[in-house]
């Protein structure tokens, strides 16, 4: 008997008696007010991230200018900004090891937690969102959802090879509870509220 058959045989033989129906999950009222942008910004700040409104149409990146000016290697996955490390030309994820700042666009944000979602299509190279020192995330305020329940109704989870919710930067407090940003991944995460030019497919 294969391991698979043996496991299934035991599962069938040991099935607990009784009827355990799958419960319906009610729609819980979102725990956020109507101003989703303000709620999102407040929740994300508490998780160690920050939110900036885009600058003027001529210079939308003005609020993150100092971060960008200090970066030698910038990898951009968005048409709004041209970096100097081509994600599409990357041969291997390791090519992103020296990226200082990565700029990516989120599919959506979640107001209740301050989270943003990326899929492999948004990141182009998944690893860049972790190997970069800092992450700048473009988010269209129209893409804000109320809560996690709403997020899990989105189709991305059923069709993406990789989908990830980021809620602030990489963090640890494994040493005496002292909170430190930049445990293994990005040291900072800044969301720049900037409308999409092209609607996502």
């Amino acid at each position: 008997m294969s391991a698979r058959e043996a496991i299934f045989a035991r599962l069938k033989a040991n099935r607990p008696a009784g009827d355990y129906p799958l419960p319906a999950v009610p729609d819980f009222a979102p725990l956020v007010g109507d101003d989703l942008v303000a709620e999102f910004a407040e929740r994300l700040a508490r998780m160690g991230g920050r939110v900036e409104r885009a600058g003027s149409p001529a210079d939308p990146f003005a609020p993150v200018r100092s971060r960008l000016a200090g970066a030698a290697v910038i990898a951009s996955a968005v048409p709004e900004f041209t970096g100097n490390r081509d994600l599409r030309a990357a041969q291997r994820p390791q090519d992103m090891a020296d990226v200082d700042v990565a700029i990516v666009r989120a599919r959506f944000g979640v107001a209740e937690t301050g989270s943003v979602l990326f899929t492999q299509d948004d990141l182009i190279v998944n690893a860049v969102a972790y190997l970069a020192q800092h992450l700048i995330v473009l988010l269209d305020p129209a893409d804000l959802l109320t809560n996690i329940q709403a997020a899990y109704r989105r189709p991305e989870f059923g069709r993406s090879a990789y989908a990830v919710l980021h809620t602030g930067p990489s963090a640890t407090a494994d040493i005496e509870g002292v909170l430190i940003h930049g445990a293994q991944g990005v040291r900072s995460l800044t969301v720049l509220l900037l409308q999409r030019k092209i609607q996502a497919a």
């Binding site: 929740r43 090879a161 002292v178 445990a183």
Partner: protein, 523 residues
């Protein structure tokens, strides 16, 4: 007591002397002190001078673990014990604050418990569904009957790819399997990438907590381990310096690793997805950087649909750390172009446990650690004192399923206060199962003589479930009915440093009925 210590006592601190001279935690844009992830809500720092770290239980083959002996040594290290107690109680309080912020919290717990009960009683169907979805996604699916089989399967995958090094994120399942030791013996270099887990690996120690593997160590201990293994300055115990040293030394190993492995928090049957929840982003590095990707999955991790994550993700980090969500919630469904993704589904005793009438619901556990943080025994004895993969209340009811003799004493390391059951996000009746294990072990003569004496003395109450339930029903605690020496017995070392809380003469429910309800039972 100084005024400063008194003011800390007023903050609800258990050990006011455990305090930091400065606050090094990260702050937000407007200067507010941040306390997401596993951060403490206030600075907690074990006092200098250096105190040798108490080590865990002495494991001697198959012989029963002497948890009390290890607890005794933990209590004999007051700097460690107080910092540990304070730190975990702080996390427990953060959990309460987070839970109270959600009006539907109790309903979520009930739904989560029901989803788990349904899935576990239909596990064959959902595992088949998961396997079919994963295969359709281009994933290689493997089945392992036990830990040894898991290790052999992973080794085989690595050897086929000529892989010599593997980076991994934290996984209790791989701890269960003895994965690191097996791979070391087979010439594979395993690198833990979670800071806490890496500290433990470098110190050649098991994790002491399911969420915070090195929570029993002070910064001085970490400085000592890193000075020895990473060549850091032994006199520099700054937490930022230590964390950065680990980042800088682990990063090159991640970049050149031949393979990456993660555990699994939830496996979604309908989509074949593996979900991991981390604060450091190390599961995403392990899964996205090396050219070969492996996910180890306990078969009980299945949930039917994506929408059910909307329940579990809301409960997990709030229960674990009091944080609304982990920094990263990652959904691995298919391989990156040009790479292979493998999923290993591991039984290792789970299908047998499913057939244990009193204990199968322990399979609902989502490994949040809330029961450990709230447990007075765990907080005063440290996770390593249990000498098992799983420590604390959940360990007491899971460990004996792996080895009844070796872990026969563990179900006695409990005050039966029931707090574990009250905080469990999937409503496992942990303290009742602890009691049920005592009965099973007594009937099967697995109990050492000393504990047998306690059992006899505790008499009718401890040996008859109905009497026991009546007792806790009346007092919300078994404390009032246990003879004093059974609680403060030398075998229960953890009882030494504290008087047991005075159990209320009247339970809350009885009080409520008497005072707050009118005669027809309406409140």
């Amino acid at each position: 007591m100084s005024e400063e210590l008194q003011s800390r006592e007023r903050e609800g601190v258990i050990h006011p002397e455990v305090r930091a001279r400065s606050d090094e935690s990260e702050r937000g844009p407007d200067g507010q002190r941040l306390q997401h992830a596993e951060a403490a809500s206030k600075p907690i720092r074990a006092d200098a001078p250096r105190e040798p770290q108490p080590r865990g239980a002495k494991v001697k083959g198959n012989r029963p673990i002497d948890q009390a002996e290890a607890a005794e040594r933990f209590l004999a290290a007051p700097l460690h014990q107080k910092a540990h107690d304070e730190r975990l109680w702080d996390v427990r309080k953060k959990r309460d604050t987070a839970a109270h912020g959600i009006p539907e919290w109790e309903e979520l717990r009930e739904i989560a418990s029901q989803i788990k009960a349904h899935t576990l009683t239909h596990l064959d169907t959902y595992l088949e569904q998961f396997e079919a979805a994963a295969k359709a996604n281009g994933v290689h699916v493997h089945w392992a009957e036990d830990g040894a089989a898991h290790n052999r399967i992973v080794l085989d995958i690595l050897q086929k790819h000529g892989a010599k090094s593997l980076v991994k994120s934290k996984s209790m399942l791989t701890e269960e399997c003895g994965f690191r030791h097996f791979m070391a013996a087979n010439g594979i270099d395993i690198i833990e990438t979670d800071l806490g887990e890496r500290i433990q690996q470098l110190d050649d120690e098991e994790p002491s907590h399911v969420v915070m593997p090195a929570v029993h160590k002070t910064r001085l201990d970490v400085a000592d381990v890193f000075a020895r293994t990473l060549g850091t300055d032994p006199d520099n115990d700054d937490a930022h310096y230590l964390a950065e040293s680990q980042r800088e030394t682990t990063r090159p190993l991640i970049l050149k690793a031949d393979a990456g492995l993660t555990g699994c928090n939830f496996a979604i049957a309908e989509t074949g997805t593996v979900v991991t929840c981390t604060n450091e982003g190390n599961a995403d590095l392990s899964g996205n950087v090396p050219p070969l990707q492996i996910h180890s999955i306990g078969i009980e991790k299945i949930v039917p649909k994506v929408e059910h994550l909307g329940v579990f993700i809301r409960l997990l980090s709030r229960s674990a750390l009091g944080s609304p969500i982990t920094q990263y919630t990652s959904h691995f469904r298919g391989p990156r172009p040009g790479t292979e993704m493998h999923m290993v589904l591991v039984d290792n005793g789970r299908s047998e446990r499913l057939g244990m009438e009193e204990f199968w619901t322990s399979l609902k556990c989502i490994r949040c650690g809330a029961c450990m943080n709230t447990c007075p025994v765990y907080r005063r004895s440290g996770g390593l004192s249990y000498g098992a993969t799983y420590s604390g209340p959940i360990g007491l009811i899971i460990d004996p399923t792996f080895n009844k003799r070796k872990y026969s004493t563990l179900p006695f390391s409990s005050t039966m206060n029931g707090s574990c059951t009250n905080v469990c996000p999937v409503k496992i009746n942990i303290h009742e199962q602890i009691f049920a294990w005592r009965k099973v072990l007594a009937e099967e003569h697995q109990i050492p003589l000393l504990k047998q004496g306690m059992m006899k003395a505790a008499g009718a109450v401890l040996s008859r479930p109905a009497a026991y339930r009546a007792a806790i029903g009346a007092a919300d605690s078994a404390l009032r009915v246990l003879p004093r020496f059974a609680v403060y017995n030398p075998a229960n070392t953890w009882g030494k440093k504290r008087e047991m809380p005075h159990a209320p003469r009247q339970s809350f429910h009885a009080w409520y009925r008497q005072n707050r309800m009118n005669k027809d039972g309406q409140s």
